[in-house]
Each structure stands twice: as C-alpha cells, then as structure tokens.
Symmetry: C2
Subunit: 469 residues, 2 copies
C-alpha cells in the first residue's frame, strides 16, 4: 500500500513539475518543517509543499492530486487553533498564502473579491481606504487569511454585532478534487436558487473544496467608535454585567471578558497602569455607529448595566480618540501574547454557551475543575457567548495532563447540555474530533459524511480533519 | 406502477389512521381543492391532507410515508410564490399550519423557539411585547409561517439591513424521510462544529427534511424609526438615487422602489392623495436605530442622495409617528393588492442584481421587452437589489404568453450575466425549475442532487420541486 502510494506520489510529482513553475514546489526538509505546524500544538510532515501564485496552478495541483489519489492539505497563514492545516499522514501541503490578490474592490456595490491568501487585515485596510468596512474581525486578522477564515468560519471580537465569517461571504469560486471548477453564490446580495452551497463550504475546514476566490460583503465604515473598560473586584459581577448589557437593549460591537487568572496573566506579562490592583475581572466594551449620539447612548446604557450591585463596578474608563481607545484595548490585546509566556504548554479550548448563561457556566466550570488541576485562564467574547478556557501546564509531560483532558471532556458535556457548542469559532480540525459525538448526533454525522463523499469522492481533501477517515 | 402506488397508499393510510387523531386526516374533495393551490398560479391534487397538531404526529406521518414510499408535500400558509407547497403528482399534503406553538420566548438570551406553523407576524408581535425584534420581515409576514419562511429563505423589506431568514435561524429540529429526528445548530449564538446543516436546510424548499421546531435569533427592538417617501418624475432618477443612497454610507432598513407602471397600478386600485400626478417613480425609505439622531442623520443623508439632478426629486415626505409612517407605507403596501385587480393573469418574476446595477438592469429590461409585449410592472427591494417584474396579461390564454415567456428567459440570462440571481427571495419551486441551468453549473446541480439523496434517499420529500426528479 505504501509502495503504491510512493509510486503514485512519484507520478503525481513528475506530472506536476511539468505544469508548475519550479519555485512553486518544494520537498526541502526545511520547508517540510515550516509547514508541519500551525497555531495548535500538533505536527505532521507532508511529502511536498506546493505554493502556487495563480488560480490555474491551484486547479492543476488539486486536479492532479485527485487523479493520483494524493492527499491535499490546504493552508492559509497556518494560524488555526484546531490544527486544520496540519498534514496528517503523507501528502501535499497546498500553501495558498501566495494566491493573495484583491481581485476587486467594488465601492459602488460594497463588495470585494479576494483570493484565499489575502490577509484579512489587509482587506480591512483596503476597504477602510474607501470608507468601507469588512466587519469580520478574528483575533488573528493581522496575519490570518480570508481563505482560512472562511474554511473555519472564524468569529472574533465584532461577531456579536456583525456575525461570523459566514455572514460576509456572498460567493465562492472553488475547485473540487474531481478537478471541477465552479462558482457558487451570487454577486448580488440576494439569491436563493438551489441549496446554499456557499454556507456549506464556509466552515468546512478544507474538507470539501479548495477556494480560489471569495466574493465578500462590505458595509459602510462606522464613523464613530466609543470604547470602555469596566473593572470589577468580583468575577461574578462582571459576568452578571455582561448578561445585563445584553438585556439593556444594546448590541455592542464588542463585549470582551477577562477573568481573574486572565488579568493576572496579563499583569505578569507587562505593566498596565490603568489596571487596578484590586480588579479581578474586566469587560472591554465597544459601540460604533454613524453618529456620535448612538455610541454615547449605547455606552451610557452599558455603563448602567455594569452597575449590577453596590460597589460592583470598581472603575469605568471611556475613550473616543483612537489612541486612547487602543490603550483600553491593550488590556485585552495583551491576552494572547501573555499566554505564550504563561507556561511551557497549554490546553486551550474555545466553547460557546447561550449569552445569559455565562455566569452559570463559569461557576460550574470552576466547580468542575475544583482542586483537580490549576484553575484555567478564562476570557472571551461574551457578547456572543464565546469563552476561551486555557489550562496552563508545565510542559508536554506535565503530570496533570490526563486530569485536564478529563476535565475538558466534562466541560464539553456541560457546554452541550447548556445548549452551547464545543467549538465557538476555531473549528474541530484534529484537536476536537474525538469529542465530535458529544455535540453531533449520529444522523448529523451520517449526513456530513455523505456530503463529504459527494464533494470529495476520492477523499483526498484534508483527510483526517473533523473526523477520522 | 400506479396499482402498486394505490396499494402502498392504502397501507400507509390505514397505518396512519391507527396512529393519528381522525380530525388530523382528510381525503375530502373540498380539502383536496383547498390544498391544491398557493400564491402561485399552479395547481395539483393530493390524495390525503394531514394536519397534525403535535410534533410526534408529524414524525409519524413522515416516517410512515418514508416506509411506504408515499410523497410528502410540506405546507405552511400556502403563501409561496414559486409553488413550493403544491402537490405535484400523488401523495400527502402535510399541512403544518396547526403545529403553531411559540415554544419559548427567551428574553434573557434574545432567542425564540417556534414550531413551523407559527405565523411570522405573530412571532414579531410576541417579541415586540418584550422589547425584542424578529428582524426578518417578508412581505407576507401577516400570514406566512416561520416554517415556510425558512424553507424558502424568505427575504423582504428589512433584509437590506437585517439579512434574509437564513440570518435569523440558530438551530432546527427536523425529521427525515428515514424517520430520523435530529436537532442541528446550537442554542448559543456561536458554534462551528461540523458542516453547517442549518443553512443547508434553510432555503431547501421542503426537499431535504420536515421542520419540527426552529430556534431563532432576536435583537433589541429599535426604538426609533423614521420613514420617507421620495417621488421622482423620471424612473431613472429614482434608480440613480437608490445607488447613491448605498454610496452615501447608510444602510437603510428599507429601500423600496416603484416604477411608472407600478405607481399607475396602485393609482388605479385606490386614491392616494399624497402621490403627485406627475410622479413616475417613488422610493420608500426607512431608517431605524437606538437613538433618534441616527435615524435623523440617515434620513437626511438619504434625502441628499436623492437629489441626483436638478429637479430630479419631485417631492419628499418624512414621518416619524406610526400613523404618518403607515400613510407613507400605504403607497408601497398597496402594490400587492393592486396587482390582484390589475389583470386576470400575471407572470411575476423575482430577481436580484448587484445594487449598483439596478438602473442599468431596468434600462436593459425595458429595451429587451420593447414592443414585444406590454411593459412589466417593476418594483422591489432596491436596498438589496431585489426587483419584482410582473407581466400583466388578459388571462391564461392570452396570446402574448409565449412572447412573455421568451422575454422572461432572456431576462434571467441578463440577470445572471450581471452577477445576479433568477430568484432573489421566492425560491425555485415549480415555477422556475426549467430555468435552473441558467444560474447553476452542472457541478452545483450534481452536488445538490447528491445532497438530496443523502437526506432523502427514498426521494419522497416534496418531489418535483427545484428540479424534476
């Protein structure tokens, strides 16, 4: 079997070499190492790295792979948290980072067309130059790609108001492992002809098709933004305040939570003078709109909602100027980098619960973890009920890893029992596939596997992701 | 074959009679006539009408039909425009209008759970009682059902700002023709576990599964609404103004267009004093928000955008009070009833084009129709590029019908060449299935058919819809 694979790979490689420019292909060990990892802790080594610069070369790479039955592992910036781009087993890493043209920025139609390798932040910038807004804003926007965002249906800070990546994709141009190239969706805002293949492809984690181009919805850039940082001495007050904000008739553009361990982690990482020593939880709140009054009104309503009890709200800071707003955001934006220094190894989960249940969830989570292992770092996008739960460990051989894994499985069961999801916005990839049955029914799994077979009969697109083949 | 069907039907009916209350089943000719039509011009007669009041009875009806291979035609209020609920060929009309409980209105989580037979307007009302907003608002909201809206991915007036039905559905409970019952999606706002079966089911026109319950997203009710009616002497000025509004950095909550024939049709139907005799086109514009300033600002910006040329804007009327707003809306809301009196027979199409192309599209449409047949009535939701094109005819045997049909096919080709859709929001059903290939590629059609097979291997759910079996 392995011999057979080696022969097929050889034939594939030779054929590909006749079609693609030499610099688009590599079997160097250095490259194989670079493309063996992503933002998860997983690792896998591909046989070949292909980095095409044109859509035609992507089509050739995928079509030939289909013919020779060579696995293809599509990859954007490799910033995924669930190992969606890691080559599991032998095959080709299809690095789409160089397929990175913004094909069109259609100001009259509030629409952009971008290749999958376009960095999300770059598209945001280009749109803003024209007074437009690509509202999707994953935490990784500065380096993650549109293709990766679509494959994972990335969420992020602004999803509470503007939705996740799914809500910004109008159409997709794709290639299947059969070699078929097709456009699906419309350039118009509306269109209900046939089944919604666009949203089926969004979040399919590279297992159904390889994207060549995405048509994206833009909106007018909100002219006014107002940001506030609320500090609380008690975590439960911050969590109650979050629920009260949702009740207050306001949809903020961001509503970010940091718990006790999260603030301490950031404090250890860098000095943040505006953070009170007695603060054990914080909410970062943001409102945007076309007129100043709306942000003023919303921030005021949210401040009132934060006053959930006597002395509950320790400090309230508000900013409108960009620089001051960024100072407030610093607290939240220091979270990810501070985690790199927090411990040699982490088990980081991303879950979602109904928004009104966040306080109940955190209490149950803390009780569930108890003294078994060190309490996790808890932060997240409370506006849409997404919570990141990070267990900090000494290293890959930390003795508490089995206990953490046991706790994680219980957390997932808790989340699903509360109506939530074991993956709010990071996907299943490799890291969560063994938990899939906690959330999905046998019927859903059967339907998904049959959909997979319809799109990718040869089973070569990102095999081993979402579920074991 | 027919004998075999009759035997299977008999066995099915007898088994069903043992399971369901007698009043839930009918083979009366009067009922068969009632359920033979919907808001399209199609007609088809089922063998049996089943009207269950409980989810269990729906499951029984569908599961037994799967076992006996009896076609099931699900139906909400029968208000569909593309004949999605018409029984084509023999089988069972599954009338879901009595499965109409609002199971939950969760104010803390801004979430509602509704059975498919709940009338959309009823859900809107219930939500508003709690200061919440079910933002989806199809033109038929007063009588159409949540289940029908989801099956067709209904759009409507407010879709420009709030999206179509797809954007308001969090989860679905369904039964397949295999008898399997499953929940898909989450009660939380976020969740990316596995493929997005929820959005695949939205807009699937009853061909994949029968809905038992839908979990719907609500938002805070906008406190302020401001409406304006802009009248133009020239249709092209109204169309230019519409594009200018989209450019003005404003997303209205409604942006409705009525062309020359549309205004005349309404004028013939009833007297509308505020409509200037010299007006040949009108835009109905609406803004909403949490503070008055934002609606004031947006309406002012849109008024400016309407001044597209000297004397272009004939009249501008603005209202904030509910009663006055309704007076302005009267012009637009008289459109549908006026059409009933406009002619004995109509061929009504619903298409979408990119928003900036509406003026170009209407010009090309008028040229394409030319003198071949009477110019169509043109109106629509310009905010999201949806245009309704209605050809008025003398009767079912009008001699210009072939010429209209020829023109319609050319219009669809034009629409697709402009990046639009042959169905903006009404679905394909029976009425547009022969045009499917104009918009969808053979690859998309193959994928959709294989998805259909995965969900409904027996092929009994709404057979003949979207495509011929």
């Amino acid at each position: 079997m392995d011999d057979d694979y080696s022969q097929r790979l050889k034939a594939y490689y030779e054929e590909l070499r006749r079609e693609l420019p030499a610099e688009a292909m590599s079997t160097d060990d250095a490259d194989r190492v670079i493309y063996s990892v992503d933002a998860s802790k997983e690792q896998g080594f591909a046989d070949v790295i292909v980095s095409p610069k044109t859509q035609d070369d992507v089509v050739t790479t995928v079509a030939l792979a289909g013919r020779h039955r060579i696995p293809i592992f599509p990859r954007g910036a490799g910033s995924g948290m669930s190992a969606g781009s890691i080559p599991m087993g032998r095959g080709v890493v299809l690095n789409l980072a160089k397929l990175n043209r913004i094909v069109k920025l259609d100001v009259a139609n509030l629409t952009a067309v971008a290749e999958p390798g376009v960095v999300t932040g770059k598209l945001q910038e280009e749109a803003e130059k024209h007074g437009l807004f690509y509202a999707s804003d994953p935490g990784s926007a500065a380096f993650s790609t549109i293709g990766g965002n679509i494959a994972e249906n990335a969420g992020g800070m602004r999803a509470v108001k503007y939705g996740s990546t799914r809500d910004h994709v109008l159409a997709l141009k794709c290639v299947l492992s059969t070699g078929e190239v097709f456009d699906t969706g419309t350039y118009s805002l509306m269109g209900v002809t046939g089944y919604d293949l666009v949203r089926l492809l969004v979040g399919s984690e590279g297992t159904l098709a390889v994207f060549l181009e995405a048509t994206l919805k833009l909106i007018p850039l909100p002219k006014f933004v107002r940001t506030a940082l609320a500090q609380f001495s008690r975590e439960e007050d911050a969590l109650s305040a979050s629920a009260a904000i949702i009740q207050a008739g306001v949809i903020p553009r961001a509503l970010e939570f940091m718990g006790e361990e999260a603030l301490n982690c950031v404090r250890r990482y860098r000095e943040i003078p505006l953070l009170k020593p007695e603060a054990n939880a914080a909410l970062l709140i943001e409102s945007d709109g076309a007129v100043d009054e709306v942000t003023r009104h919303e921030i005021a309503a949210m401040k009132e909602a934060c006053e959930v009890g006597e002395n509950a709200l320790l400090a309230w800071m508000e900013a409108q100027e960009k620089e001051q707003r960024e100072t407030l955001w610093d607290v939240r934006k220091s979270m990810s980098p501070s985690l790199y220094e927090a411990g040699a190894y982490k088990i980081a989960e991303d879950i979602a619960v109904p928004r009104a249940s966040v306080r109940e969830f955190v209490a149950k989570l803390r009780e569930l973890v108890g003294e078994r292992v060190r309490q996790p770092i808890i932060y997240g996008h409370l506006g849409h009920g997404s919570i990141h739960v990070t267990f900090v460990l000494e290293g890959k051989d930390d003795q508490s890893i089995p206990a953490v894994q046991e706790a994680v499985e219980e957390v997932f069961k808790l989340v699903v029992s509360m109506g939530g999801s074991i993956s709010a916005e990071h996907g299943i990839g490799l890291t969560k596939r063994k938990y899939l049955g906690i959330e999905l029914s046998p019927t859903e799994l059967r339907l998904m596997r049959e959909i997979k077979r319809a799109f990718d009969p040869a089973g070569i697109l990102n095999p081993g992701k979402i579920w074991e083949e």
